[in-house]
């Protein structure tokens, strides 16, 4: 029997639901960004909000990414809570001055006088030829800057709970949504709830290896973990959820047990979250691992557009399984035995997806 306190929904609707709850509970919450009131409602995440809360609180804007970030900061200084949305992370590169020189430092540089409770939703493009400037995963950049919080929920439950936490957090929070996760489904509570911005989640228990993961790689890691079970390899999957602050405690506890570490990162490799995790673990205890630490990331190249090229770099459970076997020095022939079939199209979130964006 379905629980009447829960509802079946997808990630984008969970975002929409969180926004609705926040706006209903607090009239100081406002929501703006290119297209938030248009017929597509930013992949459905903002659909209906203008009607419910009025055009003063929910509005479309000019293509002025930098100023709009500053405008959000200014509004927040008068105690509004702004949720700003960008359809791609890449567009937000125009706003680094406002983000880094103002938002991230405001609280500190004026001696704790006034903080900037602004939530910046950034959608990460993936697949269907998004190409070099519509697919960047820049969590490592944001995480590098003191004063910012960075979250990357991997499922509808966390999406709602973390968006609510972000909106009520007194600091600027970068809320990264992978485009493909918008389609993922789950049954989540109807009511308001918060997922804290400092706790990773062990999404699968295990004892042979720790897989630290984020965003769309978490569902893949879970699938990988299940396949690995068939080979009697018990992996523990940790979904970071929060990239900054990062929950090193949970990671460390897990590694103490498994003595093996694979870090998955959706972004470029050099100077990344994956580098930070491995270094932070090993500088405390450099002998903790049985085998060398390892990481799977997007390669250090701009992402090409061609279907024929992305297919070589889009990571799924297959690459994760293969890497785990490498780390544990297990013969690759077992991989074949798993008979994992690749989906026909690596560049779509699901079979129904037909483009164009």
């Amino acid at each position: 029997m379905p629980n009447k306190n829960f509802f079946e929904t997808n990630f984008s609707n969970a975002i929409n639901n969180a926004l609705e709850i926040a706006m209903k509970n607090d009239k100081n919450v406002i929501c703006y960004g290119l297209g938030v009131t248009d017929p597509k409602g930013v992949f459905g995440t903002t659909t209906g909000l203008e009607k419910k809360f009025g055009k003063h609180r929910v509005f479309d804007v000019p293509t002025s990414e930098n100023a709009l970030t500053g405008i959000g900061i200014g509004a927040s200084l008068n105690n509004l809570r702004c949720v700003m949305t960008h359809q791609r992370v890449d567009f937000f590169l125009l706003a680094m001055d406002q983000l880094v020189n103002n938002a991230s430092k405001w609280y500190y540089m004026y001696g704790g006088k006034k903080s900037v409770p602004i939530t910046i939703r950034l959608i990460v493009g993936r697949g269907w030829g998004q190409g070099p400037t519509h697919s960047q995963n820049l969590q490592s950049w944001f995480a590098h800057i003191p004063g910012l919080k960075v979250v990357m929920p991997s499922n509808p439950y966390d999406a709602k709970g973390m968006l609510l936490s972000s909106i009520y957090d007194p600091n600027p929070v970068i809320f990264l949504e992978n485009r493909w996760l918008h389609y993922t489904k789950a049954s989540i509570p109807k009511k308001k709830y918060f997922v804290p911005i400092n706790k990773a989640k062990i999404v699968k228990k295990g004892k042979d290896i720790t897989i630290v993961s984020m965003s769309y790689l978490t569902p893949e890691a879970i699938i990988a973990s299940k396949y690995l079970e068939k080979l009697k390899i018990s992996s523990e999957v940790i979904d970071l959820r929060s990239i900054k602050p990062i929950d090193f405690l949970t990671i460390r506890k897990s590694i103490k047990k498994t003595k093996n570490l694979l870090v998955l990162d959706t972004g470029f490799k050099f100077c990344s979250v994956s580098s930070e995790i491995i270094t932070s673990i090993l500088e405390k205890n450099h002998k903790i691992l049985k085998n060398p630490p390892n990481r799977l990331t997007m390669p250090d190249i701009p992402e090409p557009t061609s279907f024929g090229l992305t297919k070589h770099i889009y990571m799924t459970h297959l690459e994760i399984i293969s890497k785990v076997l490498d780390i544990l020095k297990i013969n690759k022939k077992y991989l074949k035995k798993l008979k994992i079939s690749k989906p026909k199209f690596h560049d779509v979130p699901n079979e129904g997806f037909k483009g164009p964006f």
Binding site: K40, T63, S64, G131, P132, P299, P304, T305, G355
Partner: protein, 322 residues
């Protein structure tokens, strides 16, 4: 205007239209696996431009750049191949529809971030001046780009340095599904704004090939004579959805009435009528032009479909130049 010129414009126009419409037709095969932004309806400016611009001139464009690439003389086969993600695409499959380039004709690039090819075009203009090279730099932009700070910075610099740059703004009233009123102040005239920034500037009907010709011709020849940068705002309208192959008059951000108002202005059929009125004997000739273009375009698609994807080894190639 001379008949020959009119026919040349018609040829270019019909070709661009055919290509865009064939992209739309073929898109649902799911073989072009990248976003495409079609110019159908608003190609007149590009078609005319094509008949005035010189090969040595530079041009840069936007996400909606097919027409400009073609009008500048860009290679059709390489463009279609690029949109299909193929090895022989103009950007080797790495850029897709939004990143076109053809150095053979000085089309220096279209980019996918609103506004961000504008300073690049200005930089090309600067290089012309510094190197004392002949030629102009053309910068295509949409009405949405006008909202980006870089629009203003780029124009300001072009004005300070009096660069041989011509900005061609295609105001099609929309940025994605957003109408001008939520993005720019009421009564804003983009061309007047450009003028106040310090650039000679005017407005022109972008649905009338003759007016476009007159305007571009004068403007370009002035700038060629060293009169400094210019800005032209063309009023125009896109027919299909912002991104993708379909019509989207049903989703509610614009009215069917508005669409039909603009559709009726179709400058391609107007131009055809004009030619035939001027010289009814041209009918056959126009049909021949159309047939040969249709054939060329069809073959181009066929060829692109049969091409290879880039080799895996090219993935790590060209991250750095040597």
């Amino acid at each position: 205007m001379k008949l020959n010129l009119l026919k040349n414009i018609y040829r270019e126009f019909f070709r661009i239209r055919t290509i865009e419409e064939d992209l739309a037709k073929n898109y649902n095969d799911q073989k072009m696996r990248c976003p495409v932004h079609l110019s159908s309806g608003q190609e007149a400016v590009a078609a005319v431009f094509s008949n005035i611009v010189k090969k040595r001139d530079f041009a840069v464009s936007t996400h909606r750049g097919h027409a400009h690439y073609l009008a500048k003389g860009g290679n059709l086969n390489k463009m279609i191949a690029e949109i299909y993600g193929k090895e022989d695409g103009c950007s080797s499959g790495k850029g897709g529809s939004m990143h076109l380039i053809d150095l053979d004709v000085n089309f220096m690039g279209s980019t996918a971030i609103v506004g961000n090819s504008m300073p690049i075009g200005v930089g090309l203009g600067l290089s012309l001046k510094i190197k004392k090279q002949k030629g102009l730099s053309f910068v295509f932009l949409g009405d949405g780009a006008v909202e980006s700070g870089v629009f203003y910075e780029a124009l300001n610099f072009a004005a300070v340095k009096k660069l041989p740059v011509i900005f061609i703004c295609e105001n099609n009233l929309y940025s994605v599904y957003s109408s001008l009123e939520v993005r720019q102040p009421k009564n804003r005239k983009i061309y007047k704004l450009a003028r106040e920034i310090g650039i000679k500037s005017e407005h022109c009907d972008g649905m009338d090939s003759l007016k476009i010709y007159k305007c571009l011709k004068r403007t370009i020849s002035e700038t060629r004579r060293g009169k400094g940068p210019q800005f032209i705002e063309f009023s125009t309208y896109r027919w299909r959805e912002h991104c993708g192959p379909n019509y989207d008059n049903d989703i509610g951000y614009r009215t069917l009435k508005e669409f039909e108002f603009w559709k009726k202005k179709d400058p391609l059929s107007k131009l055809k009528k004009l030619i035939l009125k001027k010289s009814p004997g041209q009918k056959k000739s126009l049909i021949n032009i159309e047939l040969s273009i249709k054939k060329e375009v069809k073959e181009s698609f066929q060829r692109a479909k049969n091409m290879n994807f880039p080799k895996k080894s090219s993935l790590f190639k060209d991250v750095y130049a040597k």
